[in-house]
Point group: C3
Chain length 201, copies 3
């Protein structure tokens, strides 16, 4: 029950970030709702399609679809207020990141994938929705170009969770530190402006 609530919260934060991009790129109401939905659920869909867990859980439970629609509509009406909450959204997003990284990696590991692909799919769960969002909004995906530390904390937390699963550690014992690592690292990166390297030119 707690996990479901956390999951829905994470999806809601991602959905609002997607809807805000749609508003900024001057999309219409359909653009806002579609971007909210793919940003909230798209990463999990890519993971579930690749590990053959279809239909994805979020298509079989209408509550998972309700969250991005509500998030999209709220953003459609109240986007000026939400833009002012930019910092707060980034903080919630960091919690969603840790949750999705670990949940995605464990789901892949439970389907028999080894730690390397499971870590990759944990990262895909985190960044896949944002990739689709930015491609549909007509911009190069932020996560690939900004140099922000976003995908790296995600893949490292996913790897920790996947290795713990491989070593048969108790799930809570693995999941909570791994999620805390991802979220904490991301929050520190935001606060201190840490960046990932870019190629020398």
């Amino acid at each position: 029950m707690l996990l479901l609530i956390l999951d829905l919260l994470g999806i809601g934060v991602f959905a609002v970030s997607g809807a805000l991009v749609a508003v900024r790129q001057r999309l219409d109401i359909i653009g806002v709702l579609v971007l909210a939905t793919v940003t909230g659920l798209g990463g999990g869909w890519i993971r579930d399609v690749l590990i053959d867990e279809t239909p994805p859980a979020s298509l079989e439970d209408w509550r998972y679809l309700l969250v991005p629609v509500v998030g999209g509509l709220l953003t459609f009406w109240f986007h000026p207020a939400l833009y002012r909450m930019d910092r707060l959204i980034n903080i919630f997003d960091a919690f969603g990141l840790g949750l999705f990284a670990v949940a995605g990696a464990l789901k892949a590991a439970e389907h028999g994938l080894g730690p390397v692909p499971a870590a990759l799919l944990g990262m895909v769960t985190c960044i896949g929705g944002g990739l689709i969002r930015d491609v549909l909004a007509g911009r190069v995906p932020v996560v690939l170009v900004s140099g922000e530390l976003y995908a790296i904390p995600a893949v490292v937390g996913s790897a920790v969770a996947a290795i713990g699963f491989e070593l048969d550690a108790p799930t809570a014992f693995v999941a909570i530190p791994a999620a805390a690592l991802t979220t904490g690292w991301r929050l520190l990166a935001i606060r201190h402006g840490w960046t990932a390297p870019t190629p020398k030119t």
Copy 2:
């Protein structure tokens, strides 16, 4: 038999619209054929992958692949004439919209999805191909940005069909009014220039 012909006609109209975008964006012959194919069949592929109905029917029956190739080649050679038939193509497209919305929603419902996800997947069947088309052609998808009433009639028709299925109504009794609703609404929107709302700035 009638349904197969209607289905192939709908795919053909979508394929021509995809090929016309390719010509306008100055793609080469491969670009024209790829955009014709993904516009005609891509929405159904996304739906089938998400509901685990793979390989998609349109990959197991070569007639489904022949239609976009023929549509693409005709557009490659005769695009000036086809541009002049813009209004006619929009009208045929509205019929394809109603057909795909209802067929997509019913297919998802038959695979055990509830009315909310089935309505979503009916809309995906309609707009998925155009989303891929526009992303590959290097433009923001028209359906997300134009404010045209396109996805909304599709999702409403899909929802009507999915609810009818849930209530065990006879298929024809559900499918025909739902498709007529989508197509009629779309045609009226074209004629009267009705639009969807965009966020206030």
Copy 3:
């Protein structure tokens, strides 16, 4: 064993081409690694998802994931040297093209698809990764717009392999000439500057 090595080599060349695009578009380290991975493996993933062969083999064997990561890191550090090897990379890429076209078509045919869809999926194996690469890098996919002879040799080689499979010819007897046809045609097209037609305007 030989086939595994050839496969990994082909993936490595594709991965380097993806990473070079990322460097040119000024993406960060995550952009370089993501583009290397999707360019090397993405075409096969699309094929495997469409024929319901999930999880894809390249997600179940960590060596397939290691190759794009190494290719991406090498490109990240040594891209000036790799740009100077442009001609050499194009030649290796032509060998990867022949290999992927035939391997992709045969895999689809073994899953029961007829020669027409199998040829299409052979081409998808070849160009799918580059399509995702270019969309993520914010440019119109080269293979759709450049007029280069790339997809046409691929689909013809795939078709030859798929027809041979349909006629129960011994695999080696079919695969080697089909791959040689694709690779040779591609190499001749590079050397002589042959192009595909574009629509008249």
